[in-house]
Symmetry: C2
Subunit: 299 residues, 2 copies
């Protein structure tokens, strides 16, 4: 199938998500043009998903598209930014392209995630090669108000925005497949349709540091305390778990895309799981614990 | 090698290009933060390069990196935008990673292209899989001043910003390899180190439509006239060629990243190669010619 016919399929599947509001010029030219809010900075992140690392190759294309867009947007939530738009680069095999049906479903999944997050997908690129989905995600935040990883201080309380371990439990129990778009278990939903916590982007203005949990609580907390040059003490029984998840799923395997943050002020809507402290390392119920989680390229 | 050690290698190789001026927050957090110019819109494009389609796998990593960044920035020049920053997603095999030397050279090549274009590389992502380089390129233009493909009118003169066919001639003569970073022929330079015409971003304000030539003059002119709903007449002897290039290299194989544009006003610094006309199609010295060029996914 011709490249331009495929682009038509994608833009059609995107529907109302290809253009609108702050998208001054959408797909079809050399680049997209996006208006900005005066006094706001741009926040930018890029993520890649490849089959059998970030999603099962046999999963429904709709869910692959949905998940790809959402996990990429999550980095914006972690900065306290309001999400605005994505541009997407698809590398596809001839087999992925086929008659265009798979691509249309992938695009519909992305469009639904864009609807659910209030964003647009205003441009992209397509090339031939082993399947690879790169999503460049962009948002805005009032000038100098971004929440960095590095602002935490000993004594700040540590919070998570919601229960953890659902996606990890789904993986651990080998429950990713079979899956049906309209009949997913709660654990499958946690994996395929993470709900990025953009509802927190106002609440985060009173926190000292933040990150999204994409590689397990311990590893992402490790990034937070390394950047903030302090340690962390966690209380095991305060770590909220999704029904069906074990503590281990939350600590080392979670990619639920909840937010992890610290604050000197009470955060009644979040789960208080510990506090930042002097020293270097993480203690769980007083015992030192390794910062373990998912890493690409482990030796 | 550990993911975080690899990121350190990249950031070190980026040197002065990872942070500065409009980059408020560079690599190391969940997302980069970039300040904007009041009254300006954001211009965004994404490109992907895969081995043996967009570069020879055996080419020096420095040149792969240089070319990847430059060709991605070219879409911004085509809109008349000033380039500002890129974020890069690298998908790498274990073999690409190796001891980190290849990755460091790739990064140094990207950093040099960033220096040559006045941009920064302020964020990225790394994952494991078949080699794939996605570059999300971002620039700015005064609100509503972007140059679209669609503004051309019959009677506008057609111009190119410089001689064509160098990269095409290099490909046709199978001269991409062997290549040495410090001893390239002129045709190799045209392919590996395209010089994106950001020097034109002021001049373009007086043109009616523009595109960059990435898939050959005929195909890219085809996009321009389709968007502008008109035809084009070219004068063969006025098409400027790089020394060593044939007309065919310019028409169907050029990825020299010169700009192609139309204007009702004289453009003394550009090459006048024809004019837009009524009708649909391209005529070369009065003869109808197919809009042939490079397409991915041809059936």
């Amino acid at each position: 199938m011709d490249e331009f016919a495929l682009i038509d399929i994608i833009v059609e599947a995107m529907g109302d998500r290809a253009q609108g509001e702050w998208v001054h010029l959408g797909p079809g030219d050399d680049a997209a043009v996006i208006t900005t809010t005066p006094g706001f900075d741009q926040v930018a992140s890029i993520d890649v998903l490849v089959p059998n690392v970030h999603f099962p190759a046999q999963a429904p294309a709709f869910l692959i598209g949905y998940r790809a867009l959402m996990v990429s947007l999550s980095d914006l939530a972690a900065m306290g930014a309001a999400p605005r738009y994505c541009i997407v680069a698809l590398t596809l095999t001839e087999n992925d392209v086929g008659d265009g049906c798979w691509l249309a479903e992938l695009s519909r999944g992305m469009a639904q995630a864009a609807r659910d997050s209030g964003t647009y997908i205003c441009g992209g690129n397509m090339t031939r090669g082993p399947l690879n989905i790169a999503v460049s995600a962009h948002g805005e935040i009032a000038h100098s108000r971004e929440i960095r990883r590095s602002g935490g201080k000993p004594g700040d309380k540590i919070y998570v925005s919601g229960p953890l371990g659902g996606a990890g439990a789904c993986l651990r129990q080998d429950m990713l497949l079979p899956v049906e778009v309209d009949a997913m278990s709660e654990l499958q939903k946690a994996y395929y349709k993470p709900q990025v916590r953009f509802d927190w982007h106002q609440g985060l203005s009173s926190v000292s540091c933040a990150i999204d949990i994409s590689d397990g609580l311990l590893q992402d907390l490790g990034h937070l305390i390394n950047a903030s040059a302090c340690g962390a003490r966690l209380v095991e029984e305060n770590i909220p778990l999704v029904a069906g998840a074990l503590l281990e799923d939350a600590l080392s395997a979670s990619d639920d895309y909840q937010l992890l943050f610290a604050s000197a002020q009470p955060q009644p809507e979040a789960f208080h799981i510990g506090e930042l402290c002097e020293g270097k390392g993480i203690w769980l119920n007083g015992e030192s614990i390794a910062m373990k989680g998912y890493k690409h390229f482990n030796a």
